[in-house]
């Protein structure tokens, strides 16, 4: 019994990380029609920056803030200086492959090839007792962070002027532009926000997953599966699919370690067969 509860908790917390990643991926697709293949790199670089800040200051909040902001700026610059200059969507996607390799290899140079882990904040190091059962408190914290970010994004998209502008630009970029919305600026902001969220996931995840070279591509794969299942451009889809993939991946690893990735292949294949645009994607 305890195995199932514990693994579900692990799966849910992993799913929340995937949501942090996939939300940005999905939003920038909705707005710009590109899939940023360097999105996993934001996760990895964010985790490494967080690690360095944690080693220097010992302050976990500082690690989170510095990691998210620095990578957010990296995303802003990438979008502003390079992606924006290309008009062809496919060329934009191909450009991000280049950054996937560049950022991955630079991280290897700077932070080395040994797997590392960010120390947890002291308050959440130990387990917590709820009704006879023992839970790792940090996992609960991660789930909490994921829910808070999800609510924040929903509020941003549904209840603010900026969100209304984003929705308008997703629906019809030219019409939105002609009503005075600065679509180019909106794209840059959303792209930077997505990068910062991925980095947030990296720092938060770096304290219970190890950080290692190649993780950028591992999490990219899972984030892609999340948006394929959830539907590109849909936050709700990203949330539901992230939890689903997080749980499936975790149980897959625990139950069939050698065939782990097939537990996410199956749902992806089924979704593609029945609904190629994903659960909540628009046709």
């Amino acid at each position: 019994m305890n195995f199932w509860i514990l693994q579900s908790l692990n799966g849910l917390s992993y799913g929340m990380l995937l949501f942090l990643l996939a939300a940005g991926l999905s939003l920038s697709f909705g707005l710009m029609n590109i899939v940023n293949l360097a999105h996993g790199s934001y996760f990895l670089v964010g985790a490494y920056v967080g690690l360095t800040v944690m080693e220097r200051t010992g302050n976990f909040m500082a690690a989170v803030v510095v990691g998210a902001i620095s990578v957010g700026i990296l995303g802003l610059l990438m979008q502003r200086l390079l992606l924006r200059r290309l008009t062809d969507h496919l060329a934009q996607v191909l450009l991000t492959i280049g950054f996937l390799f560049i950022l991955g290899d630079l991280s290897l140079v700077i932070w080395g090839g040994v797997p590392q882990i960010i120390p947890k904040p002291p308050l959440f190091e130990g387990p917590i007792r709820i009704m006879e059962s023992v839970f790792p408190s940090y996992r609960l914290l991660v789930i909490g962070v994921g829910i808070v970010v999800a609510i924040f994004l929903w509020w941003l998209q549904d209840r603010t002027a900026m969100g209304a502008n984003v929705r308008a630009a997703v629906d019809d970029e030219e019409m939105a532009g002609s009503t005075g919305i600065n679509v180019a600026l909106l794209m840059t902001v959303v792209f930077g926000l997505g990068a910062a969220m991925a980095a947030l996931g990296g720092v938060v995840g770096g304290a219970f997953l190890t950080i290692f070279p190649g993780q950028d591509m591992d999490v990219l794969l899972l984030a892609l599966v999340v948006v394929i299942i959830g539907g590109l451009g849909s936050l709700k889809g990203a949330f539901v699919a992230a939890l689903l993939v997080g749980l499936l991946d975790n149980f897959g690893k625990a139950l069939f370690p050698e065939l782990a990735l097939f537990t996410i292949f199956a749902p992806m294949a089924i979704i593609l067969a029945i609904r190629p645009t994903g659960l909540f994607g628009r046709a």
Binding site: D105, L221, L272
Partner: protein
């Protein structure tokens, strides 16, 4: 009439040079040429999708790597029976394309790219984790080259393997040439330009693309088989996104939808990787920088500007 002789003379001259090269080069450079030819086949197969169908696959290593694994596994663990292993590996590579094609061709454009990437990475994960069958991260070393003793042909020396690869390379070029000039090839390009029009004209768009996807998978599988026997080993990186992205860069660098482009791209990237690896471990960084430079500066490839002139010689 005079004009049409020129390409024939050039092809014959090119073939003659390729045939003589092993006599003047050391075995190290002959090996490098083998790699160039193999990636030439691989890049040509991807260009059938990217250039002629407009389908940007970022998972083309799936067929390449699967065939390599099947050929390697059979040769190492069952029997070094080249014809059977060749056929089985080709079949496996084609089967992967047949399954992935069913799923990926339900989508277009960036979706297609994303799904081919995700599907091929799942295979990579399988090769990486399924240690008992694939050897995990270490892969399978010590795979012997085929020995076709009944034909009196031992492919173990690098020179004989070079001629074997060259023969298959020429065969692939001929088949590809026939294919892209055939009515089928013209229909593919018609579909690339306007799916809805071809549909209205009564073409079965899906079937055309599906068949092209499988053919591309088979050619990639052939490249994978040649690759595994040449290197005597197979590892998960042969299925990895990096391999898919590398071959995609070869096609884009040379120019999509051209015959020479992918071969030129493959030659440049293989040579560059070889030179760069000689003095630094930062090949991936260089590869990334080339990606950015090519996309920003020469999105139509090196042959792009010459395309109008080349069109006289080479069928598009």
């Amino acid at each position: 009439m005079r004009r049409s002789f020129l390409p024939i003379i050039l092809v014959i001259a090119g073939l003659a040079i390729l045939a003589i090269l092993p006599k003047v080069l050391t075995s190290y450079y002959v090996g490098l040429l083998v790699t160039v030819l193999i990636f030439g086949i691989f890049a040509l197969s991807l260009d059938l999708l990217l250039g002629h169908c407009g389908l940007p696959s970022l998972g083309h290593a799936a067929s390449f790597g699967t065939a390599a694994y099947v050929a390697g596994f059979l040769s190492l663990k069952i029997a070094n029976n080249a014809p059977v292993n060749f056929a089985a590996a080709l079949f496996a590579g084609g089967a992967v394309a047949a399954i992935f094609g069913l799923l990926a061709l339900r989508t277009r454009g960036i979706y297609f790219l994303m799904i081919t990437l995700a599907l091929s990475q799942v295979l990579w994960g399988l090769a990486f984790k399924w240690k008992s069958a694939t050897g995990g991260d270490d892969g399978m070393p010590g795979i012997p080259r085929p020995n076709l003793s009944m034909l009196g042909l031992d492919l173990t020396p690098v020179n004989s393997y070079y001629y074997f690869t060259l023969a298959l390379f020429v065969l692939v070029c001929i088949l590809m040439y026939i294919l892209i000039r055939s009515p089928f090839g013209h229909s593919l390009r018609g579909i690339r330009e306007s799916e809805s029009r071809m549909l209205a004209l009564g073409y079965n768009v899906w079937a055309h693309q599906y068949v092209a996807f499988i053919i591309a998978g088979l050619f990639a599988a052939l490249a994978g088989i040649l690759y595994v026997y040449y290197n005597n080993m197979v590892s998960p990186k042969d299925l990895h996104l990096i391999t898919s992205a590398k071959v995609l860069l070869m096609v884009i660098l040379g120019g999509t939808g051209t015959f020479l482009g992918p071969i030129l791209g493959a030659t440049l990237i293989v040579l560059l990787e070889n030179i760069v690896s000689g003095f630094t471990e930062r090949w991936l960084l260089i590869l990334g920088i080339i990606y950015v430079l090519v996309i920003m500066l020469a999105p139509k490839g090196l042959l792009g500007p010459l395309r109008g002139r080349l069109r006289r010689w080479i069928p598009m």
